[in-house]
């Protein structure tokens, strides 16, 4: 048995076996700080499963369930329904899943829950690959990024997950970044409030030093650069139609600056960088017109 010498400050233990500089770990702490203890968490396999704990030990002070890779949203919907029929609908049910578990294999269950209007909060932490199984490409892996299943660099664009979510016209959806903590916290608060009406979804960019080949001490810088280079715009969408940029970028930094802190883009040539630059600028222009 472990003797607890000092209580952790938040709802997550101090010792979590995430890698040094993990963006997901920061995201998880922020999320639970905002949501508070009247929350039940559902986590699929993936790095977030580190927060379920191991054996008899758990990492969270709130109740949780580790489900299957593809069904975080379905478990969350069932749990919410169970509480609702017992008059305990005030309990916040949170699904916290990686990009693989959301954008790829879990898309069906998530779409079902969003379409039905289940009052759950779903947060996808996007480390842009399957990290827990060893850095394989996902539908959210960006163009040209190296992963073990895109060894020559990914040849296609990432899936517009937030666009897919918005198409369900749910009360609240947003992108967020661990590099912009205040913005992220506000969005979690809004999302929490929105679950009184229906589903809420946040897609948080969470750099992964292990998978991206970035330095652990650069996580926040990398996260900020993604936003400043327009590679990860921060915005929110109310009812699927009202778009609002929450962190406007007046003078964008070049994409190359963001790429150079990461080894996964080391094989990228000048022409590819130019194409990426054009693509993000176009995306941002389209976004600001929405």
């Amino acid at each position: 048995m472990l003797t607890i010498k000092s209580e952790s400050r938040g709802l997550i233990a101090h010792g979590v076996s995430a890698c040094a500089g993990c963006g997901l770990e920061l995201a998880a702490r922020i999320i639970l700080d905002v949501l508070g203890s009247n929350t039940v968490i559902v986590i699929p396999p993936g790095c977030a499963a580190l927060f379920s704990g191991y054996g008899k030990e758990t990492v969270t002070k709130i109740p949780g369930f580790q489900g299957n890779l593809e069904s975080t949203a379905a478990y969350a919907a069932g749990i919410k329904a169970g509480f609702e029929v017992q008059g305990r609908g005030d309990i916040q049910v949170l699904g916290l899943a990686g990009d693989g578990a959301t954008v790829d294999i879990g898309l069906q269950a998530l779409s079902g829950a969003l379409e039905r209007g289940d009052k759950i909060l779903y947060i996808c932490y996007d480390n842009e690959a399957y990290m827990n199984t060893g850095i394989q490409g996902s539908g959210s892996t960006p163009l040209n990024a190296w992963t073990t299943t895109t060894p020559g660099g990914k040849s296609v664009y990432r899936k517009d997950m937030i666009g897919i979510v918005a198409a369900h016209k749910i009360p609240y959806a947003a992108t967020a970044s661990v590099g912009y903590v205040d913005d992220f916290k506000k969005k979690v608060e809004k999302a929490k409030a929105a679950t009184a009406e229906g589903p809420a979804y946040i897609h948080v960019h969470a750099p992964c030093p292990t998978g991206w080949g970035s330095k652990p001490e650069h996580t926040i810088e990398v996260a900020k650069l993604a936003v400043q280079s327009l590679c990860w715009p921060l915005y929110e969408i109310v009812n699927g139609v009202n778009y609002k940029i929450t962190v406007p970028v007046a003078k964008p930094k070049p994409v190359s600056e963001y790429l150079k802190l990461q080894k996964r883009f080391s094989g990228v040539d000048a022409k590819q960088v130019e194409a990426m630059q054009t693509a993000v600028e176009l995306d941002y222009a389209r976004l600001t017109k929405k």
Partner: protein
């Protein structure tokens, strides 16, 4: 008090879930189960069932929703069939391993390929060792009754295992019969509200369920499931005895029909049992000493009871409604052989993809047994002579 109503097997299953007062329903339509999903939706809309109906987008999600809801401490209901059950496979293991005592009607239907909409037992047999109890109904009445019995057993603190109540597609699901539907008060007395005896989700008493489990605990947790299965027969028999006291109908894990002096007996599951009994009556009228042993509880498997019931029978056959590819014989026959030790057990396969197992099929099987021509190979008793040239590609 009960009322006698014309119901098919699906109707009986829906009534069973209604009377069990499931609070959350998540079901996805699939032939021949769809009427259960529809009827439960009707019950909720009409106010006959105080439940939340989650219109899920797949069977996989249906099972996940049911597990999630039960983990908060309420009874949840779902039903499925065939490829729907197969799609649930991954999460059926979650219900079993997390000891979530869901009771699920499974309307038995063949698996692909080739596509078939009709009855056999391949779907449930593929799940037979996955940690779910499996009860097989012979009639619509049994469907309703076994659902209530299954709840009593599954939720007992000594068991805590999920249960399938299997009913043959179309033969039971779509065939109308006069069914005694008990009144709610009597059912409530037999089946009290669900009390979760296991880990559950509650912010007031936090625990993390189903996390990564090290080798030092994993075997023991599996062993706990095995012990639950060992305890299940006693609990099941108690539930059946109580059922008889309350509702007057008699159930047991196996039913021996004309077995006492029988020279040859065929072991059956599900709706074929009725045909088998009928055939026995016909053959008995001709002076042939034959009998039927119907297995109601396939999981837990009543090995001792089967052994005892067949102790004096010279020749035994087993009618499997699934092929058991690559095995010596099909699944039920494999287990009956193991139970009976050296005694010859003839494996029969029939009734695949909705083919009727007719009195003629049973007669053929009984004749083979009575002539003592046991073959080591399984006998595909109803296969056509031109089997190998059907849809042959030249």
């Amino acid at each position: 008090m009960s009322t006698r109503v014309m119901l098919d097997g699906n109707g009986a299953a829906s009534e069973g879930l209604r009377l069990a007062k499931v609070r959350v329903i998540s079901a996805y339509p699939i032939t021949p189960q769809s009427p259960i999903s529809e009827k439960l939706a009707d019950f909720v809309v009409q106010g006959k069932l105080d439940a939340k109906y989650i219109r899920v987008e797949s069977e996989h999600s249906a099972m996940c929703c049911a597990i999630g809801a039960q983990l908060t401490g309420v009874r949840a209901g779902t039903a499925t069939s065939s490829v729907g059950l197969a799609l649930m496979h991954e999460v059926l293991g979650v219900a079993a391993g997390c000891r979530v005592p869901i009771v699920m009607p499974v309307v038995n239907r063949s698996l692909v390929s080739p596509w078939s909409l009709w009855c056999d037992h391949q779907d449930a047999m593929a799940e037979r060792d996955g940690g779910w109890m499996q009860l097989y109904a012979e009639s619509a009445q049994e469907v309703l009754d076994l659902i209530l019995i299954a709840y009593r057993t599954a939720e007992d603190a000594r068991v805590q295992l999920p249960a399938m109540v299997c009913l043959d597609g179309f033969f039971l699901s779509h065939m109308s019969d006069a069914v005694y539907v008990p009144d709610q008060a009597t059912v409530d007395a037999y089946l009290p509200p669900y009390v979760c005896h296991n880990f559950h989700l509650d912010p007031g008493d936090p625990v993390f369920i189903n996390n990564l489990t090290p080798t030092v605990d994993y075997t023991e947790m599996r062993y706990q499931q095995a012990v639950a299965f060992r305890q299940a027969p006693e609990v099941l028999m108690e539930a059946m005895a109580d059922f008889k006291k309350v509702f007057g109908r008699d159930y047991s894990m196996i039913e021996a029909y004309q077995c006492d002096d029988a020279e040859a007996v065929i072991v059956t599951l599900g709706s074929m049992s009725g045909t088998a009994k009928y055939t026995v009556d016909q053959l008995r009228a001709q002076g042939k000493k034959v009998g039927v042993l119907k297995i109601t509880s396939y999981r837990p498997f009543p090995a001792g009871q089967i052994k005892q019931a067949l102790a004096k029978v010279a020749v035994v056959g087993v009618m499997d409604r699934s092929p058991g590819y690559g095995a010596q014989v099909a699944p039920v026959a494999t287990e009956v052989r193991a139970v009976l030790g050296g005694k010859p057990v003839q494996g029969f396969i029939a009734g695949l993809g909705g083919r009727d197992i007719s009195p003629a099929t049973f007669t053929k099987a009984f004749e083979k047994l009575l002539s003592q021509e046991i073959t080591a190979d399984v006998d595909w008793v109803d296969v056509k002579e031109n089997a190998l040239t059907i849809r042959e590609v030249k």
